[in-house]
């Protein structure tokens, strides 16, 4: 037993020394800390992976969601924030209070894709008005069959799937379709895991869901994308690289962002190098993870904006649909 006792006392003293160490949070290595949206995560992860290979700077990427990430970002805990929607007023206030300035950089486009079961041959084309009828809060408990949305459609039950209310995707879709962010019917199957939504629509003939384009791209053989008619009389537009780039896939194409801590950008060379690398080399990586890279002209405008280190947001703390990136950047004085 003598042996065991000494073991215990060593452990105990180790524990006390753990607590006694006043400040062991000093890391010798330079680490770039990134957190935020799960939508932007695949792109940032790919960039971080390549950047680490070429420079040996350490990069960590977390997924806290756009909202959760902004909380950390505005406390100065992270250097770069992934965001699937622009920064909101309350987040701007939090950043201001903590003295954190940020540089807003659109990095790619995502297309929110509305999908239906492949056996559904009547709703392959939907107008935004029809989508609104289906998703607005007034539809809750009332709109239950397809023919309630469009009398030409059959009297079969409709089953809705969508992301949870904490997601930036939910915010954007409700803003673009219903007209007010977070305003949605509540009686749909919500999941933060988009694969659950995919499975839901695959397994239900009357199913309809919306999520990021990458999930549709990977499941094209099992799902049908709905072509979206923005305004009456216009043709239906399917989500694709071409329709996102030429701006016809409206209103569901959205830019996604990174926000860079302005102090880190100015004083940490590794952060500066990382963002440079991100903006200049991410195009093939973005395409590899099934997002749409910015067209060359917009990419150039973003790089110029970044080099000028201009802090601020072009959105004024409010969500906005269908804004052009170049126009956005000129708003930041």
């Amino acid at each position: 037993m003598q042996y065991q006792f000494t073991k215990y006392s060593t452990i105990a003293s180790l524990v006390t020394s753990l607590f006694a160490l006043p400040n062991f949070a000093v890391a010798a290595d330079k680490i770039i800390k990134i957190d935020g949206s799960s939508t932007v995560y695949p792109i940032t992860e790919a960039v971080a992976e390549e950047f680490q290979k070429s420079t040996k700077t350490k990069v960590t990427v977390g997924i806290s969601g756009t909202g959760g990430g902004f909380k950390k970002f505005c406390r100065g805990e992270t250097d770069v924030q992934n965001a699937s929607r622009p920064i909101l007023q309350k987040e701007i206030d939090a950043c201001k209070e903590a003295g954190v300035q940020f540089i807003e950089l659109p990095v790619a486009y995502d297309a929110l894709t509305v999908v239906i079961n492949p056996s559904n041959d009547f709703a392959k084309k939907m107008t935004t008005a029809e989508l609104k009828k289906l998703w607005e809060p007034a539809a809750q408990g009332k709109v239950k069959t397809w023919n309630q949305v469009n009398p030409a459609w059959p009297n079969t039950p409709v089953k809705l799937f969508g992301p949870g209310a904490d997601s930036g995707t939910f915010d954007y879709f409700t803003e673009a379709i219903v007209g007010k962010a977070k305003s949605s019917r509540g009686d749909f199957t919500a999941s933060e895991d988009d694969n659950v939504l995919v499975k839901g629509v695959v397994g239900d003939k009357g199913g309809l869901a919306y999520f990021g384009y990458a999930y549709y791209e990977e499941n094209q053989d099992k799902l049908t994308a709905v072509s979206i008619v923005d305004k009456p009389g216009k043709p239906g537009v399917l989500p694709s690289k071409a329709t996102i780039e030429d701006g016809t896939y409206q209103p569901l194409a959205r830019p996604i962002f990174i926000y860079v801590n302005a102090t880190a950008a100015a004083f940490k060379p590794e952060v500066k190098a990382f963002v440079n690398y991100y903006l200049e080399n991410s195009k093939p990586l973005i395409e590899e993870v099934k997002y749409v890279a910015l067209p060359a002209k917009e990419q150039k405008a973003v790089i110029t904006h970044w080099k000028a280190l201009k802090p601020g947001t072009g959105f004024g703390g409010k969500p906005e649909v269908g804004v052009k990136i170049e126009e956005l950047l000129t708003r930041i004085k």
Binding site: M1, Q4, F5, Y8, I11, A12, L14, V15, L18, L21, F24, A25, V26, A27, A28, I31, K33, D35, S38, Y41, P42, T44, E45, A46, A48, E49, Q52, K58, V59, T60, V61, G62, I63, S64, K72, E192, D193, D194, N195, G212, A214, Y215, E217, E218, N219, L285, E288, V289, K290
Partner: protein, 315 residues
Amino acid sequence: MNNPSANHINKNLDEVRAMIHRHKLNDYIFSIIGLLCLMVGLVTLLTLFIDLIIQGYPKLLSLSFYTDFPSRRAASAGLLSALVGSSLVMLVTFISAVPVGVMAAIYLEEYAPKNWFSDLIEINVSNLAAVPSIIYGLLALGLFVYILDLGQSIVTAGLTLGLLILPVVIVATRESIRSIPIAIREAAYAVGATKWQVVYDHVIKYSFGGILTGVIIGMARAIGETAPIITIGALTFIAFLPPSPVTTSAPFLNFEWLSSGFTVLPIQMFSWLSRPSEAFHVNAAAAGVIIILVTLIMNGFAIRMRYKMRKNIKW
């Protein structure tokens, strides 16, 4: 000739036989129901496990899966940072929870006066064991991350899981201490041993197997925990290892790893599972198999240790 009373006895015997037969049948039916109940759990689990193995086996068999960092490409994505992260977090959990838990249990069993205050503590310890793990995560976020400013680090995660399994360790230790016959203690006191000598030479020694079992079962629970680790902010992409705890130069120990960022197995699995690409789901299945295997091995080790310790004890 049958006389009436013999007839009566025969009839009675038949009745008894019928009754025995009926009761045997009940026995039989019950054992079938019991077996079915067992099967429901076992078969479901086994099916899940086999399904995971079938899905994940191409990855499980490739060595690079264990030596590669996470990647955007499913084929070259590996578990290394999660494996190392989980191990280091478990180390901190062990170091923080075991001594505190064991000593608390010894105090409660051997030293604490029997009054309402001890009862209150007892009830609370048992209740703590049933508190959902997310609550520990929230507590840790407030206490370790913000008040003590330990950051989203290995030490925070280790201490959080340490708190989580503390009640398990305490309860298991107490049970095993309680199973020591009172006669052993009385005999020791009778020859003039002090309380500490009794505890140290007999109580700890004889209950060691039970304590160890409790500790390992607690650790096995901790290794699969996701919720509290996500709450304190574990990372999802981390393609480097924390600084090594052991160095080649004096003092040979390095505490920098404690403040390093990290990821753990369940989080890595969760992150792969939510990817759009099917190829990542193979990785997730393989990671699932690894988590289950680690848990099984730990539990198996606990059973084996308990058996061995029991065998060595001769009172």
